[in-house]
Symmetry: C2
Subunit: 236 residues, 2 copies
């Protein structure tokens, strides 16, 4: 039964930020899916019931790692992974980021691309932010993939926690950035599939650099507190 105030509202109400699409039927690919971050995300998403393909340069290596993860994860080369997936997470090292994405422009056309790459440098004082020419890894992806729906998310996750089978809930908020609401909504919904994880919209791609480079700060937190730190957003 619909309450009267819902039927008599003159102007359409703004859509609730908590009203997100059902993404449970979408195939998720993870480029660079054999690294710790990629494997961790693949494991958590597959365990939550998502169809997941992990990509690597070598299809054989990808299949080996997929078999280790279980939960129906498949392995393929990166191009096949991109072509077969609806949502494609980019979890490659920053050093190979531009080259890989440029090579997959056609396979990634029309897809939701989720960049989770953190451009960082390391020296004896720890980690520090690198500043990509385009502003951020996510903006570099958007520049190289004009036919894709590029978002940024999943930057602050600890691969150790993601891969720890003793951890049932991954208590973290995933900051999701992008230009297109339908795309960021889908990525938020994907994050919400993992118990404990929550997708939170956190701005446009021009504000991705600070989200990517905040990982340098989390590394400092981890060193000081011997932790696997993540973030929660308060008051939402």
């Amino acid at each position: 039964m619909t309450a009267p105030q819902e039927t008599t509202t003159a102007a359409p109400a703004a859509r609730s930020p908590y009203d997100l699409p059902d993404v449970s039927g979408l195939v998720v690919g993870v480029l660079g899916g054999t690294g710790p971050q990629g494997r961790g995300l693949a494991y958590r998403l597959a365990k939550a019931g998502q169809q997941v393909v992990i990509g690597s340069r070598s299809a054989e290596r990808a299949q080996e790692k997929a078999d280790e993860l279980g939960h129906g994860v498949r392995g393929a080369d990166n191009a096949t992974t991109a072509a077969e997936s609806d949502i494609v997470i980019v979890a490659v090292p920053w050093e190979g980021h531009a080259e890989l994405l440029a090579s997959l422009r056609s396979e990634l056309a029309g897809k939701i691309v989720v960049d989770c790459v953190n451009p960082l440098g390391f020296d004896k004082q720890g980690a520090y932010a690198l500043k990509p020419e385009e502003g951020s890894a996510a903006q570099q992806a958007a520049a190289l993939l004009p036919d894709s729906r590029v978002t940024a998310a999943f930057h602050h996750l600890s691969a150790v926690l993601l891969l720890d089978q003793a951890v049932d809930e991954v208590e973290i908020d995933v900051l999701v950035l992008g230009e297109e609401r339908a795309a960021t909504d889908a990525v938020q919904a994907l994050a919400n599939r993992v118990p404990g994880m929550r997708g939170v919209f956190a701005g446009r791609l021009r504000n991705a650099h600070q989200v990517e480079s905040l990982v340098a700060n989390l590394i400092s937190v981890n060193r000081r507190y011997k932790a696997h730190a993540g973030l929660r957003v308060t008051d939402i």
Copy 2:
């Protein structure tokens, strides 16, 4: 009574990151203390029992605002505020940041300076990060104040929540950055004085830019969710 394992440890244990100094007797000055952020911090710290002086260009205006805040807050011109305080919070607009600090170099010598300035630009798409020549507002402060102990903290607080007398606990973690452990420890301890607030060490000043500019993302969160968002660090 000391447990045996504490007396027989061969190597000194690393100091606990939770072992922080008592700062309850220190005087806290707030430069730009008549703005919303400065007044909010002054209010919360004074309410927690800290001696607080708010500074402004005009001592009269500072005293007026101090009287409004109550809890023993005093007002003074910025130079007097700096000279009379042990810990000096810099809460001025980014536009006046360099000029003010350069003018107070001698008053701030030897003091713990806490920069909480967020260099941001605004256009019709919202907020975006500005990149100071020195890397961040905090690094600019450190360059202008070579005789001070410069830290960065209190970036992500909502002035609305700080000033809301109906809010008893400010549920937020304060990321504290700096080069000198004794200084960052003191600032963490200061944050811990406010109910709900927690000071968390989050790296060196070279990693301050992303902490400052993350405010642009929190503004996007606030707009989308109609909230006063802050951050909590998980797993510590």
